[in-house]
């Protein structure tokens, strides 16, 4: 039976990959067997030219050999390049299958050869179709392709091959000169005719199905895959259409033959198969060029990283703008982009995920359009070409992600601190202070009114008044303490209200040039508030200041605060209580508040204006 096993689910497991020597031996054997079979076929055809396609002329001989050999050579080389895949073997198989058409030549001498020919002569079409549809992996990528191929093999090998052969007695059925049919069971001329006709009609069906599947595959392929597929799929498709034409032409007669039209069709088929083989080799060249381009782009990316990094390079090469390149970092692993920012990757919604693995470790994860990287060889190429750049970028992403973690942790610490301050403030106000007030009222109530014992009353009243005074003092101190910890006004009404209220307690007059009236995230308000507190206190300690201007603006998600010391005319400002120059102490004194601002991603700068004035300037991002 001539039906080949389908190579649909051949796995590309590295463990079973043949060694280099075996591969060379295999490829050479394949070439030798193919070449020998081609020569043998041609010799047979030339021995009985009347029943042959390629036996009548040198042109026919050239067509015979070039089509078969081209596919066999292409298959052998493809096998050499990727021994783990079936694609090479399938191509070589198609080349060998091309020769089968010559073997049902009635002029042959050998009954064995003639019988073989009766069974397999139409198999070239499904073999070529399989080689094309399974290219370049050697695996069929859809159930419909598998079904159509089974249909084709059954149609060509059984209904047009084995079954009629079983009932075909050459001597009794208008072929007195034919060699004997070794598989003849019973002569049934009508059945042979019927099977043959049915086979041709079915043949038109499976040819149409295979051509449609090939066209759909081409249409649905990613741009990269399509560039690789069309040089092979288009000639193969045209070849199938010619076979179909032959079937349609032969239908009235009821059987395939080698009349003059069929001869010309055969020559055209040969040319298309040569083109298909050339298509395969064209892909090698393209492949090589693409890889060279990838390597060049990646080298460039490594030397002078483009803004989008490797992701943009890959998106460009693979033709997928939605491509996402993520690096697993941390423990437990999470995914970040090259800039260290977290990204979520996952399959679904037309997207697929391909891990790029090197030495058993996932270096990166590509999220891309489904089907873009279905070819494992392609993935390996991407990994190989981008290895250096990816390693580089992954390390960088890891560092950036850690920095981001650190910053987030810092911000959390500050936020926790603020929450704690606020809690303390409330505890003081609502707990201790309330209790003291209650106590003072109780004392007041206990103070004797006009007393029955006039001797003790004044002393007791005096004592209670004294205790009441102490209590008032305690309440005042508590209030100041609570306010310093975290002013309730800041939480209740925001930055502008709290900073305006500062003007009442500040050592120097504060002029509010502008303040953002809208509410900002609490950590931003706290940072801004404590900055103004610290800065105005510092400026109050500078000699020669007669005030400070606070200018806070909020736009484009950035709070910019400038606190400028209004210097009196004079030789510049200096901290009155330090001997050192003005620069160091100012900045050093602001370390705490600078840390607080830094923790939420902001910056603090002290600017010394030539006139001697000082501006403390902070930029605080208000984003999440």
């Amino acid at each position: 039976m001539a039906i080949r096993p389908l190579a649909c689910h051949d796995s590309v497991v590295a463990a079973s990959r043949p060694t280099v020597t075996t591969v060379w031996i295999g490829a050479l054997a394949l070439g030798a067997v193919g070449a020998g079979f081609g020569l043998l076929t041609l010799a047979e055809a030339r021995s009985a030219p009347a029943g042959s396609f390629g036996g009548t002329s040198w042109v026919g001989a050239a067509a015979e050999l070039s089509a078969g050999w081209a596919l066999i050579v292409a298959g052998a080389v493809e096998f050499l390049r990727r021994p783990a895949r079936r694609a090479g073997l399938l191509l070589a198989g198609a080349g060998i299958g091309w020769f089968f058409a010559e073997w049902n030549n009635p002029g042959l001498n050998s009954p064995a050869a003639f019988t073989f020919g009766l069974i397999v002569s139409v198999l070239a079409a499904p073999l070529v179709a399989q080689a094309a549809l399974a290219y370049p992996t050697g695996r069929l990528d859809s159930r419909s392709a598998q079904g159509a191929l089974i249909f084709a093999y059954a149609g060509a090998g059984l209904i047009l091959g084995m079954l009629p052969a079983v009932f075909f007695a050459p001597g009794q059925q208008a072929c007195a000169l034919c060699p004997a049919n070794l598989v003849l069971v019973r002569s049934e001329p009508d059945l042979v005719g019927g099977l043959s006709r049915a086979g041709l009609i079915l043949g038109l069906g499976w040819i149409a199905a295979l051509a449609a599947i090939g066209a759909r595959r081409l249409r649905k392929a990613s741009p990269l895959l399509r560039r690789m597929l069309w040089p092979v799929l288009v000639p193969a498709g045209c070849y199938l259409l010619l076979v179909g034409t032959d079937f349609a032409h032969s239908l009235p007669r009821g059987t395939l033959s080698n009349d003059s039209l069929e001869h010309r069709l055969w020559l055209a088929e040969a040319a298309l198969l040569v083109l298909m083989a050339l298509g395969v080799s064209w892909v090698w060249i393209r492949d090589h060029r693409t890889r060279a381009t990838v390597v060049r782009l990646v080298m460039e990316a490594v030397q002078s990283p483009p803004p989008g990094g490797l992701r943009d390079v890959l998106a460009g090469i693979l033709g997928d703008t939605s491509l996402e390149l993520a690096y697993p970092v941390g423990e437990p692993p999470r995914h970040v982009r090259a800039d260290g920012r977290p990204v979520s990757v996952g399959a679904g919604d037309g997207q697929a995920v391909t891990p790029l693995v090197r030495e058993g470790r996932t270096v990166a994860i590509l999220q891309h359009r489904a089907g873009l990287l279905d070819d494992p060889g392609q993935v390996r190429e991407v990994v190989a070409a981008t290895r250096l750049g990816m390693e580089n970028e992954r390390l960088q992403a890891e560092v950036l992600a850690r920095l981001e973690d650190l910053r987030a942790a810092q911000a959390r610490i500050v936020a926790t601190g603020d929450a704690e301050r606020q809690r303390l403030e409330r505890d003081l106000h609502d707990g201790a202070q309330q209790r003291l007030v209650g106590l003072s009222i109780a004392l007041r109530l206990a103070r004797p009114q006009p007393d029955p014992d006039p001797a003790s009353a004044p002393r007791l009243a005096g004592l209670i008044d004294q205790a009441g005074g102490e209590l008032r003092l305690a309440i005042k101190e508590l209030r100041d303490l609570a306010h310093g910890i975290y002013p309730a006004l800041l939480a209740d009404e925001g930055l502008a209200a709290a900073v305006e209220a500062l003007a009442c307690t500040s050592r120097v007059p504060l002029i509010m040039a502008s303040l953002p009236q809208e509410r900002l995230p609490p950590q931003v308000e706290a940072a801004g508030y404590f900055l103004v507190v610290e800065a105005s206190e510092l400026i109050g300690a500078l000699a020669g200041t007669h005030g400070a201007t606070v200018d806070a603006k909020h736009d484009a998600d950035m709070l910019v605060i400038r606190i400028t010391a209004d210097a009196a005319a004079g030789p510049g400002l200096a901290l009155t209580d330090t001997a050192a120059g003005p620069e160091l102490p100012l900045e050093a004194a602001l370390t705490d508040v600078a840390d607080r601002i830094g923790a939420i991603g902001g910056r603090l700068r002290v600017e010394h204006v030539p006139a001697g004035a000082v501006t403390i300037r902070a930029e605080i991002p208000c984003g999440s």
Partner: protein, 214 residues
């Protein structure tokens, strides 16, 4: 004189009630939160509601909110906010929308029954009362050049006393000046603040507001 008291601390609420009763003020009811307070105010229609600034559920500015609501829906009831905060801003928030019959005192005034009853009385009369400590802080604060700088030291003292809610008579007693002199000072304060043409009771309030805002 009838008052209601709202404070979530029982000791303070009941203590204040007893102090006020000793001082001859009728306490018509007490409340532990804003909702209860609003109920008592609508049923009792007191002269003054004495309200703690921080009350449940959020312990932020429920007292202020309740005070604003009372001033809106019960014009006959004055409000006195008792606060633990020395923040002029809160006082201003109360005064600027309803600049009549309201006051803002620090909580520790509760033990100074004379100040408390005086404030309640003046609020019932439709005046505004500010805690002297807050006024003092406003007077002493370093300030950029402004309208208030046109006032003399004396006039500023007079303005501070106006802000505390004192009448001309009260000011003359505190400053030991003749009522006529005080009247002249007050007139100059008003004219320097550009308040010549407004009726007297409003002028006093507006002067206080100018003072708060400066």
């Amino acid at each position: 004189m009838r008052v209601v008291i709202a404070d979530d601390t029982m000791l303070i609420r009941e203590g204040t009630a007893r102090l006020l009763e000793q001082a001859g003020i009728e306490v018509a009811g007490t409340a532990g939160d804003g909702r209860k307070l609003m109920q008592i105010v609508s049923t009792e229609q007191p002269d003054v509601a004495i309200i703690d600034i921080r009350m449940p559920p959020t312990h932020t500015d429920e007292g202020l909110v309740a005070a604003e609501q009372i001033r809106r829906s019960h014009p006959g009831t004055g409000v006195l906010i008792l606060s633990q905060y020395l923040e002029p801003r809160y006082a201003m928030r109360l005064l600027q929308d309803h600049p009549e019959a309201c006051g803002y005192l620090l909580k520790e005034r509760l033990s100074d029954i004379a100040v408390l009853t005086d404030a309640i009385g003046r609020i019932a009369d439709g005046e505004c009362v500010l805690d002297p400590t807050i006024v003092g802080r406003l007077v002493k604060r370093p300030r950029p050049q402004g309208r208030l700088d046109q006032l003399t030291q004396r006039e500023r003292e007079v303005l501070a006393l106006i802000a505390e809610g004192r009448s001309n008579h009260g000011i003359s007693e505190v400053m030991r000046l003749s009522p006529k002199t005080v009247e002249a000072h007050v007139g100059r304060v008003f004219s320097k603040l550009g308040l010549d043409d407004t009726p007297d009771s409003h002028r006093r309030v507006l002067a206080v507001l100018a003072f708060l805002r400066s």
